[in-house]
Symmetry: C2
Subunit: 356 residues, 2 copies
């Protein structure tokens, strides 16, 4: 498999990206990389990585999209950048998958502009893997859109289900709509209506109705569907809470001699904990709904994080995910009588909602 | 201070409620209680609690509102219940504060119906105390309403600020709107518009703009304002995440002999952690916006939890919170040119959104 890599994206730039590619190459010896970026910066980094260098082709492009650049500016002025070229390789069909640790909003806007949406999907979504008591679940949308209607939530369910099948290898993933109660009458209109549509549809997914916020961490369903505003708040609230608990744990252990001693003895276990909670190992938001696969690695990801994002990209690129989304989308239309997307966004509206 | 107590509410019923009152009575010797409930059930429980019995007056009422009862039914048929009478004592002016561990939706619906909203407030909100790295913050609304507009978010900011002043004793609490980015252009329309109104207003609060989900646990602001849908999802996601981290911690410690030994030595510290995360000690959602104070204790609260809810009730009852909300509401009107609440809800619409 040939991956298109934005070699200059992310807070740590090319060094972290190439180190991540090297880890991924060791895991998957057949992997090949199309590295988009400044040749003068990339060549020296590849000198010490002989094995990796043999799997890479550098496509020189001088520009870089800044982490602070606005999505609309990136679309207008980003043509000569590593991110643009990385996406272009997917748009042209040269690669199936692109990976970037760069500016999320810009990546989404350029992807929308160059790769475009799957026919019948009106909005893209960003999906993440969420750690749960039972393993991992897919949660989407975590920030591609600021708000959305029932039809879009149903599309997210279809895309999330196809994604879960691709990466978890489950035949019929369970799908739930995030809500503020489990009864059918609870919640906001868009969520209630999406629930009705999904209950009435005969999609090859196991629709489990509504789940509440605490159900995400419990692993109540394989796929949690929500709008980009709620999903983003939930994701960041969970990150903040995990950090808060670790903070409490540290100060609780420091408070007594026994606690300090116990913490020392258990330090291996605590490291395991930290690894489980480390966003790097679960790294990679995935853009769903595009006519190609684009994986967003966390901007602050190190080599390990970038390698995790590549793992995701490989799983997605090797699956029939896109065909599945297309066929399920037909099943939804049969229920809703919807003739297609109401508004084909031009990229700018959506991009504005994307959070980095 | 005389507190109106729904003595029969909650999963554990009168036993937990009275045990909680006994703890509160030891903390505040001047406290007196009006206990609404079944005399035949309450008298035996008070027999062994001499000191508490001297501070209590029992008002016999036979009925109980079930935890599963729908809010609309509770309003229609709940007249002869302990919850109704507990609220009635506030509506009549006999008490300033009512505390109940019963059905949240029913409690809100009956409170709206009997106590009513403060003039100029269009919707009530449920506020909770959220543990943070810096102590505690107020978060509202966590589920009284399913959705809301900019004007209502501004009202929540006013109510939350007054509440934070009352319980934290801060002169100018910092207030933030929960959003998916800190820039002014990010997010949904209602949140953006509420931000504009709050920035333009000259309210005696420190408006800090937008905060993201991770900012809650960091204690970025004293008061976090959001709609009831997002707030409820965030609250329950945080609860689920805290439970997930503890779950990971337990299994990480079990995995090795050193871990088990360390966990044993640090068990005191781990108990401190659990206490910090224990919803019982931070127990009590507060209904804001009513012409009186109603505190909702968690349905599953034990004696300690109910005592925490009483602590909250005392802080709120002793403050000039209501006067503050009224005067700040005038300040908001001066900015928005709003003549008053657009729709005076009849209680049923709001009650439907309340989650228990």
């Amino acid at each position: 498999m040939l991956l298109s890599i934005d070699a200059m994206g992310g807070d740590s730039g090319a060094a972290a990206v190439l180190a991540g590619c090297a880890i991924a190459r060791r895991r998957h010896p057949d992997l090949r990389f199309l590295l988009h970026g400044d040749e003068a910066a990339l060549q020296p980094l590849l000198k010490h990585r002989r094995v990796l260098a043999q799997s890479c082709e550098i496509r020189h492009v001088p520009g870089i999209i800044a982490m602070s650049e606005k999505p609309s500016q990136a679309v207008r002025r980003g043509r000569n950048t590593s991110m643009w070229h990385a996406i272009e390789a997917v748009a042209s069909g040269e690669c199936r998958v692109a990976v970037s640790a760069g500016n999320t909003g810009a990546l989404m806007a350029i992807s929308m502009f160059r790769i475009g949406l799957i026919e019948g999907i009106s909005r893209p979504a960003i999906a993440v893997l969420w750690p749960t008591k039972r393993g991992q679940s897919v949660v989407l949308d975590v920030g591609a859109n600021a708000g959305c209607d029932a039809q879009q939530l149903v599309e997210f369910a279809v895309m999330g289900e196809a994604f879960a099948r691709a990466i978890f290898g489950i035949e019929r993933p369970t799908v739930g709509l995030l809500n503020i109660g489990e009864e059918e009458m609870k919640g906001i209109e868009s969520v209630k209506r999406a629930g009705q549509i999904l209950r009435a549809s005969e999609l090859p997914m196991e629709f489990c109705g509504f789940i509440e916020g605490n159900g995400i961490g419990e692993g109540a369903v394989d796929v949690v569907v929500t709008d980009g505003f709620t999903g983003n708040v939930a994701l960041k609230t969970a990150e903040g809470t995990a950090r808060l608990v670790i903070h409490y744990l540290r100060s609780a252990l420091k408070r007594s001699l026994l606690g300090r001693l116990g913490g020392l003895l258990a330090s291996g276990a605590l490291k395991t904990l930290q690894r489980k909670l480390d966003p790097r190992t679960l790294n990679g938001g995935v853009f769903l709904g595009l006519n190609g696969v684009v994986v967003k690695s966390h901007g602050g990801a190190d080599a390990l994080g970038f390698a995790s994002a590549i793992d995701l990209a490989i799983d997605m690129g090797s699956s029939d995910m896109m065909a599945r989304i297309l066929s399920d989308r037909e099943g939804v239309r049969a229920v809703t009588g919807d003739g297609g997307p109401a508004d084909q966004p031009d990229g700018s509206g959506t991009a504005r909602a994307v959070v980095s």
